[in-house]
């Protein structure tokens, strides 16, 4: 044990000499975890959809189909990479990258639990960069996700992807606004853009923000489903109508879009608990540390609670996908601009009233 601690302290002193190393290690761990979660959420969705549809879903590769994501990845990797003659080759190759990076970059500002305390008293945070502008950063980054879709659709040189990208661009523009407004209501309650501050505020107020911002939460859910391009708003890739912006893509490039889409799902369903459901706060137990629990136990439980909340959110999204038909293009835009936007604005006023008159 002592030798281990000694080893750790040498590593630590070495790392403190080069602080960049800590960041790199954290980024590596974070990306690894995110990739694993993204890979397995594809499997989880396929199997759960199977259960909803009274079939079994993919269960042949490995026990319970657990190696299925690996097989999928391998398949995509081995497929031929086709660049259509009619396309714009540079943008065609660039578009998946544009689509790929925003959801992954967004994970950087999450805080997954209270800090871990080492025996020598040094603390380590469960975040890569818990910046002051976390929420704003997330909004900025996620608004960049559109470009991948637009460029993919246009550069394919084909009509179906063009329709897909036209639809997805106007859809994402329409739903970005209510999404941001509903998030702003939470920011208003907390008084900070930093995600860990928002969680701390929920702990301090002793209620989660979905209670005062219930309208905002519903708006957030609906518009995030639309942002994720999932049923009932899965028009950009409505497979029975226009197939989508990635019609012409194959092999690894298609896999990029696929992974980006599911990374988006993971991203949004991890953002929701932090904003509305108390993040790493353990429900019903307001403060474990008050009962004398070790801070490390608190932080481990916090990670579990965070994971459970975001899993429930993701499961709900899958359940919605299993049940509903798809909206039409014009109806979708109508809902975005004429229904959700006024509701989100009204919610802003309601939350401001609550904050002004009820919490002071």
């Amino acid at each position: 044990m002592d030798t281990l601690l000694n080893l750790w302290s040498t590593i630590e002193s070495w790392m403190l000499a080069f602080p960049v190393v800590i960041y790199l290690v954290k980024i590596g761990i974070l990306l690894g975890c995110v990739f694993a979660v993204v890979a397995y959420i594809t499997l989880a969705e396929r199997r759960l959809l199977g259960f909803y549809q009274s079939r079994l879903g993919p269960n042949r590769v490995g026990p319970l189909g657990l190696i299925q994501p690996v097989a999928d990845g391998l398949k995509c990797f081995l497929k031929e990479d086709i660049v259509p003659l009619n396309s714009n080759p540079l943008l065609f190759r660039l578009a998946p990258v544009f689509a790929f990076f925003p959801p992954f970059a967004g994970f950087a500002v999450f805080t997954f639990a209270l800090p871990w305390v080492m025996p020598n008293g040094r603390t380590y945070h469960y975040s890569v960069a818990d910046v002051d502008l976390g929420v704003l950063f997330i909004m900025a980054i996620s608004s960049l996700g559109i470009f991948g879709l637009i460029l993919a659709g246009w550069s394919s040189g084909s009509k179906y992807p063009l329709f897909g990208s036209l639809r997805s661009a106007s859809q994402m523009l329409a739903y970005e606004v209510p999404l941001t407004l509903s998030v702003i209501s939470v920011v208003m309650m907390a008084g900070s853009f930093r995600l860990s501050d928002i969680v701390a505020a929920q702990q301090a107020y002793k209620f989660y923000f979905f209670i005062p911002c219930i309208i905002g939460f519903v708006v957030y859910f609906i518009s995030s489903v639309a942002e994720m391009n999932r049923t009932p708003f899965d028009l950009p890739e409505g497979e029975s109508e226009i197939i989508g912006f990635h019609t012409e893509y194959s092999g690894m490039r298609f896999a990029f879009f696929f992974v980006a889409e599911y990374a988006n799902v993971v991203f949004i369903s991890m953002l929701a608990p932090a904003l509305f459901l108390g993040g790493y706060d353990i429900p019903f137990v307001n403060d474990l540390a008050l009962y004398g629990a070790h801070p490390n136990i608190v932080s481990i439980l916090g990670v579990c609670s965070y994971a459970a909340k975001s899993t429930i959110f993701a499961l709900f999204v899958i359940w919605v996908r299993a049940t509903f038909p798809r909206y039409r293009y014009d109806q979708l835009l109508k809902i975005g601009w004429l229904v959700l936007l006024p509701i989100a604005l009204a919610n802003l006023f309601v939350v401001a009233g609550i904050k002004l008159f009820l919490l002071k």
Partner: protein
């Protein structure tokens, strides 16, 4: 009043939650997937599988099966006339199983019951020539290899003592 209840219904999505309850109900019910190569389907007695011919029963001269086949995939070569008086069995009997529609009209038309469907339904082959049945490959040993399955009672029944068999003979 009605307008209010309509408005409440509009903002609380009751019908959407009802739909979700339906899918949730099926989530917990038994799944219907049959995992094919591990878990083979229980076939009913009347399944029309690959055609088989009991060459000994065939009287070959009528050639009803050949005439009635819509795809023309059966070819019967009866023996020469002087031989046919003693031994009516065909000299050669070809069935192109690749073209067979499994319509069962040859079985209907056969007066001696020489041609019949088996329960072999896995007709995937690498070389299509494997599906060209001739006198050597068409006969099939029912008792040795295959069981008939009584679908409706879900009990495996050997062909010899199948109740359905007797019932059908009487018809």
């Amino acid at each position: 009043m009605e307008a209010i209840s309509k408005f409440i219904r509009m903002i609380t999505f009751p019908e959407l939650f009802k739909g979700m309850a339906v899918t949730a109900k099926y989530f917990f019910q038994r799944k219907v997937t049959e995992q094919y190569p591990d878990q083979k389907t229980i076939l009913p007695y009347r399944t029309k599988g690959k055609l088989h011919v009991d060459i000994d029963k065939c009287i070959s001269l009528c050639r009803f099966c050949e005439k009635v086949c819509p795809e023309g995939c059966i070819k019967v070569f009866p023996p020469p006339k002087e031989l046919a008086k003693t031994d009516k069995r065909p000299v050669e009997f070809y069935i192109n199983q690749e073209h067979c529609l499994h319509c069962g009209m040859c079985v209907d038309s056969c007066s001696t019951g020489a041609i019949h469907h088996s329960d072999e339904y896995e007709l995937v082959v690498i070389d299509f020539k494997e599906l060209l049945g001739d006198k050597e490959t068409l006969p099939y040993d029912m008792i040795k290899k295959h069981y008939r399955w009584n679908y409706l009672e879900n009990v495996p029944v050997k062909i010899k003592d199948s109740p359905l068999k007797e019932e059908e003979k009487s018809q």
